[in-house]
């Protein structure tokens, strides 16, 4: 199946990127593990789609196919990541304001001297 081959290639490529970033210390070990696990999971699901059907049945999703479960989880994950991004952004905005304010207050003091 072509879609499986393409996805696996993409997943493998992303895994090497994570490895490279970890090596260059651009991301922490925790982050690398988290992302590695996510993409590894994607790879497994692509190779063995039947797995998700069994999983879906096991947790009681009756009419749903396994792929539905995957989509639910993916949406949940994206929500969580967007939330984290927003929190980060808020923190950064506040930090920028602190810096700008500090400079503004300092400038005035220097003028006085």
């Amino acid at each position: 199946m072509i879609i499986q081959i393409i996805t696996i290639i993409i997943v493998l490529f992303l895994l090497t990127r994570i490895g490279a970033k970890l090596k260059r210390k651009q991301i922490s070990l925790q982050e690398a593990l988290l992302w590695g696990l996510i993409w590894f999971g994607v790879g497994v699901v692509v190779l063995y789609p039947k797995l998700t059907d069994r999983l879906a049945a096991a947790i009681g999703l009756q009419s749903a196919k396994g792929i539905d479960l995957v989509v639910y989880l993916a949406v949940g994950l994206v929500f969580y990541l967007v939330f984290r991004l927003f929190v980060r952004l808020e923190k950064m905005e506040q930090d920028i304001t602190k810096i700008v304010r500090h400079v503004a207050l300092k400038d005035k003091e220097e003028q006085k001297d």
Partner: protein, 234 residues
């Protein structure tokens, strides 16, 4: 008591000179926070005799006010008045704002354009004469309801740029909103610290200039969300 009039200004070169000059003529010290303007706001304010602090990047209305408040604390001021740079306030209203703080009755005084007249109170006898555009009026009423719901303070005007704070209020209020959501946050802070407050009738001039400078109505609605989000991640 030492009073500082705190004027945040973003690209207000056309108006700031007159505004500062009038406030200075009334006998107050003025600080203008030039919030990263790209025009001559800072120079004009300085020319009119204000102290000017400059944000080198635009950070918004709330951020500028907080910078002014910090400066006032560093320089031992007793009272800080918030005043808009676009000329929509009347300088004469500042005295009315200050009176309840000078007498020690309250810690915070908020300007209101909707306050009901009370014949017993000389501070509130003047009703607002000016016409407020309909959509503006609706939004302002919604803001009042919103503030009441989330901060538990029932005001007649929740988003008025004229405010005065005592030294006690200055040391307690801790606002982190950079933008216009500051107006909601500061009221929330008043509630949180149990500060004594009062509303006083003030005039707002709706000129073409101030209408153009103002944010769009859609953005104003989004401010409510901005405020709640800020409250959540605090």
């Amino acid at each position: 008591m030492r009073t500082l009039v705190n004027i945040p200004a973003y690209n207000e070169a056309a108006k700031i000179f007159n505004v500062v000059q009038q406030v200075k003529l009334a006998g107050y010290n003025v600080i203008v926070i030039d919030d990263g303007s790209v025009d001559a706001t800072a120079q004009e304010a300085q020319r009119a005799g204000a102290k000017v602090l400059r944000h080198f990047v635009n950070r918004g209305y709330g951020a500028a006010l907080t910078t002014g408040m910090n400066w006032a604390q560093q320089h031992d001021y007793d009272v800080v008045v918030h005043f808009d740079a676009d000329g929509q306030h009347e300088v004469g209203d500042i005295t009315k704002l200050l009176a309840p703080i000078f007498t020690g009755v309250v810690d915070v005084v908020l300007g209101s354009r909707f306050i009901k007249s009370d014949p017993n109170d000389p501070n509130s006898t003047r009703m607002t004469r000016i016409k407020i555009p309909f959509v503006r009026r609706l939004l302002l009423k919604a803001a009042i309801l919103f503030t009441w719901l989330f901060s538990g303070i029932k005001l007649t005007d929740a988003h008025n740029g004229l405010r005065a704070f005592s030294r006690a209020a200055l040391s307690k209020i801790d606002c982190r909103q950079d933008g216009m959501a500051y107006a909601s946050e500061v009221i929330d802070q008043i509630a949180e610290h149990g500060l004594r407050y009062r509303e006083v009738a003030v005039m707002i001039q709706y000129t073409e200039y101030s209408k153009q400078k103002g944010e769009s109505n859609v953005k104003k609605i989004l401010l409510g969300l901005r405020f709640l989000w800020g409250k959540f991640v605090r």
